[in-house]
Symmetry: C2
Subunit: 241 residues, 2 copies
């Protein structure tokens, strides 16, 4: 027996092949990075939290009619997913202004947006994941116009579902990043993960701008109690019936 060979190791996950070429196994690490990997660290238990929370939410979204890559969670840190061709775009949906949006527009942090804003970023670490306009997406052939429209509509549907879900958990969904793949039939599938690494989540019952943060911003901004925040998000999500 040989140990399985990693197909790809990313900042937070390792992807392995399985005997079925249509299925991959994602191993969720505790490694944490921020600011395009200029800041590195570890969040104990993060792998389990993110794998478990993502598995739970992918199943919920499937029931709500959003196709995802999720197939199963054989162990706390392992997810079986459909092998898809990843679209090289990060789709960010924003309900409240935070992060780079504020730096780039001058809109104050915490400003509710009248309509959800959908931003597309180029998945390219070497370029620093730059913001892309629809015209630049076409220029780079990162997605077809039809895929771009599909990504926008699917992401708004995910936002609609998750915003209400988190609200019922006592958490405000500020913004979040999604990634998508295309299966061999050309269908768009929601991929990657949905976790405190990829969502800005604020405690709905807390107004203090530091205490309310329940996501990776605690790590990015050295706010402390990072592990506790991740665990609390998972508990509140799993307590939702």
């Amino acid at each position: 027996m040989t140990s399985p060979q990693a197909l790809y190791e990313g900042k937070a996950k390792i992807i392995y092949a399985t005997p079925d070429s249509q299925i991959l196994r994602a191993y969720y690490k505790d490694d944490a990075t921020a600011f395009n990997a200029q800041k590195r660290g570890s969040i104990t238990g993060k792998g389990e939290v993110n794998c478990t929370m993502s598995s739970y939410l992918f199943q919920k979204l499937e029931v709500a009619g959003i196709p995802t890559h999720w197939l199963g969670q054989p162990s706390p840190r392992e997810m079986l997913v459909r092998a898809v061709k990843i679209i090289p775009l990060e789709v960010v949906v924003r309900n409240i202004a935070a992060g780079s949006l504020c730096l780039q527009t001058g809109i104050p942090v915490g400003t509710p947006l009248e309509e959800p804003l959908v931003d597309f970023y180029y998945k390219d670490d070497a370029l620093g994941d730059p913001l892309l306009t629809p015209a630049r997406i076409q220029l780079l052939r990162a997605a077809t116009p039809e895929q771009l429209e599909g990504l926008t509509q699917l992401s708004l549907s995910v936002n609609h579902y998750l915003s209400q879900f988190f609200r019922e958990c006592g958490i405000t969904l500020v913004d979040f990043k999604l990634e998508y793949g295309v299966d061999d039939q050309g269908q768009l599938l929601l991929a990657d993960e949905i976790s405190p690494d990829t969502c800005r989540l604020w405690d709905a019952n807390e107004s203090d701008p530091e205490r309310r943060v329940m996501d990776k911003d605690r790590f990015r901004k050295d706010l402390g109690q990072v592990e506790e925040a991740y665990q609390r998000v998972l508990e509140q999500v799993l307590a939702h019936c």
Copy 2:
């Protein structure tokens, strides 16, 4: 008699009121800045070159059906313009990949684009003039959807005209930045200037990547012979009949 009072002093121009409130006087300076004013200097004669070249091209564009703010050039460094409300967007039209587009997409410098690319940037020095998507333009109310469509179509028309014009002058129009204002009837007017400060211009008969540069990149990148390049552009433009 008192000296006229400046309404506004920018990086390259000073704007004065005139006895007619509908008319402003722009004085073109030799001051040069780059990288959001982190680099500062002076290009002797630039004010005259930019004012004269812009006056010439605005008149040509008017004849070609593009409404502009230009009214007259009472002296080599002075332009009379219609008082308009400036739209806080820089519209960049690109025919060949160069500058920030290459840094943000990885497309090699000098790659011809299949279609002209129209990029919008937020006119805000404090924010570093960030790239805006159409959705962010709506969020910031920087332009209405109708204005955005008008800016795109006018800019493509300007590009169509200027690309051919410069080609006939022996110059390749790589990319350029436009600004627009709205008059009191709500009409979009091309404003600001069209000059080696705002256009990337390459000598069409020169393939060396440094020698071919005839625009502000000579100043940005310390390529030398900046004044000579500006004068040569003006001569080649004015020699065009």
